[in-house]
């Protein structure tokens, strides 16, 4: 059980984490979702007492992290797979961690076996691929056989097999009754892994509840429709009770409708369609909807410039169009 109460962290002028309150319960995988720069890693570092909060507190199984005598036996964490000395072997890396938390050196070999790194235990960690490094990090998290586990973006950069392995592992750990808290910026990944979701944007809590509910809300999807007779179509669609907003492409976006419904409406009115596309809201769009643009996109790039005449208009960022044109 992780309890976060009023957690706040300020870096000079930016508020990285803003009065965050939530609970992570045992027995299920809880996803920690937010775009890059939302404050997920900062929050996790504060859970581990690595960063000092400006306000608020975190309790793990009822006590602050530093009040646990052997904290690695209570909380196992993988925050960054690159946190290893490249010239130290995987086995020695785990052995010093085991020693630091009062476990026998043989425990290192047990967890290496568990993550399937026995064959490379003596190799320098610097030679590991990202997938192997990730496994080594997970071995470190499992070292103390802790009831609480925390993973920061564990599937980033992994191949499909590695992703599936981690997903299965996390669900298995939760099924054993452990508290599993895992962050990601990908809603699609969290939808597959997590039962509960804690969603943050710009350091603030956006939603906290079952994953299914959030996914439904987030993909309260819309239909993009283009037609040479768009001005005739819009009143027809509105008359059927759907909301319509103009789309930058010159078409219209209909919310709350399916492509079937719009297609039938258009056919009934005898209107030609050039495009009819189900637009599934991305996580970023969901954030936009829920928070009214309260999202900090750290990926950045220069601010949007006025469109160059003649150049194709860029599509809306972060939108995935499924191919349901007819």
């Amino acid at each position: 059980m992780i309890e976060v109460r009023g957690l706040t962290k300020r870096y000079r002028s930016t508020l990285a984490v803003d009065d965050l309150t939530f609970e992570v319960r045992p027995g299920v995988v809880t996803g920690f979702l937010g775009p890059n720069g939302a404050g997920k890693s900062t929050t996790m570092r504060m859970v581990l007492d690595l960063d000092r909060p400006d306000a608020g507190e975190v309790r793990i199984d009822g006590r602050p992290y530093r009040d646990h005598a052997r904290p690695m036996r209570t909380v196992g964490a993988l925050l960054d797979a690159k946190w290893v000395h490249p010239n130290r072997s995987a086995r020695r890396h785990l052995q010093w961690m085991a020693a630091a938390t009062g476990l026998p050196a043989t425990r290192a070999d047990e967890v290496l076996e568990l993550v399937g790194l026995t064959a490379v235990a003596g190799k320098r960690a610097g030679t590991f691929s990202l997938g192997m490094a990730q496994r080594l990090g997970i071995a470190g998290a499992l070292l103390g056989d802790p009831p609480v586990l925390m993973f920061d973006e564990p599937v980033n950069g992994l191949d499909p097999e590695g992703i599936r392995w981690i997903r299965t592992l996390m669900q298995g750990l939760a099924a054993e009754g452990r508290t599993v808290f895992v962050s990601s910026h990908l809603l699609s990944e969290m939808a597959l892994t997590a039962t509960e979701l804690v969603v943050i944007g710009r350091g603030r809590l956006i939603s906290h509840g079952p994953t299914a509910a959030f996914v439904d809300g987030a993909s309260g999807s819309s239909v993009l429709v283009r037609s040479p007779a768009i001005t005739d179509l819009v009143p027809v669609v509105q008359a059927a009770g759907f909301g319509v907003t103009p789309d930058p492409s010159g078409g219209a976006r209909v919310t709350g409708a399916s492509t079937e419904q719009i297609g039938e409406l258009a056919a009934a009115a005898g209107i030609v369609l050039h495009e009819l596309t189900q637009v599934r809201g991305s996580l970023e769009e969901a954030f936009m909807q829920i928070t009214g643009g309260d999202v900090e996109f750290t990926a950045g790039g220069p601010p949007p410039r006025p469109p160059v005449p003649g150049a194709p208009a860029p599509g809306p960022a972060g939108t995935h169009r499924s191919e349901v044109q007819r």
Partner: protein
């Protein structure tokens, strides 16, 4: 204690501490051997302090080993794993000191007795080890290097970057403390308070022609007072480093 055991594994499980320690010993012994071997009767008899001439040289190498044991943890992020395992940062960093400082002392002991031994082999008559001052030159290197390691660890914790910490230590030990003596009138007086000048005063001060720093006559302390002052500076620096490490984000 488990934190100390972890630090011992960390220090021993990469090659660079072994290499730097070996280099420190070899440099001191090798250069002493060269000096004693090329000494001709025309130069007079070999001064006993020759055994400690290159102590500073080796100490700088050991200090680099000590400071890198901290800065490499910041470089590779393992310091966070360390603090995860031992959230009491004072305890975690003192555990590191409890490993690195004795290692520096043992390496100093090897260098001290090694350089005396090689000088004694070449020129047995002038290198007989008997007086307290002579013992200080030979065995004292261990104490000086141990204290130097404390300073290096503190600098590593404060600076957190290898290049910065190493540069700072080299410039401080090899340049600043020597060149400050060039300032007219006040230079020598300032110099007599500087920690590494005092370390040298402990090794070779009051022991006859020791080839010591030019301003040795103006020292405020005797040899053991100098060592205490040197150690005091190290303790104060370490206390500051621990306070800073506890306050800031890892």
């Amino acid at each position: 204690m488990s934190a100390v055991a972890a630090e011992r594994i960390k220090l021993m499980s990469t090659r660079s501490p072994w290499w730097t320690s070996a280099v420190a010993v070899v440099i001191v012994i090798g250069l002493t051997a060269v000096v004693v071997a090329t000494w001709s009767p025309a130069d007079g008899s070999v001064p006993f302090a020759v055994s400690g001439y290159f102590a500073t040289f080796g100490m700088v190498v050991v200090m680099v080993m000590a400071t890198v044991s901290v800065t490499s943890e910041y470089r590779f992020g393992t310091i966070r794993t360390t603090f995860q395992a031992v959230p009491n940062r004072t305890a975690a960093l003192l555990a590191k000191a409890a490993v690195v400082v004795p290692v520096a002392g043992v390496v100093g002991l090897l260098a001290g007795f090694g350089s005396w031994g090689v000088a004694w082999l070449i020129s047995p008559t002038s290198m007989s080890l008997s007086t307290g001052a002579e013992w200080r030159v030979v065995a004292g290197i261990a104490l000086v290097w141990a204290v130097g390691a404390v300073i290096a660890l503190a600098v590593g914790v404060l600076v957190r970057q290898t290049a910065g910490a190493v540069t700072l230590l080299l410039v401080w030990v090899l340049l600043v403390e020597n060149l400050i003596g060039l300032i007219p009138r006040v230079g020598a007086d300032i110099q007599s308070w500087l920690p590494f000048v005092n370390a040298t005063n402990f090794l070779t001060g009051g022991g006859g022609d020791a080839g010591a720093v030019p301003s040795m006559s103006t020292m405020h302390f005797g040899p053991w007072g100098s060592l205490a002052w040197f150690a005091g500076v190290a303790v104060v620096l370490m206390a500051i480093a621990l306070a800073v490490a506890n306050r800031r984000d890892a």
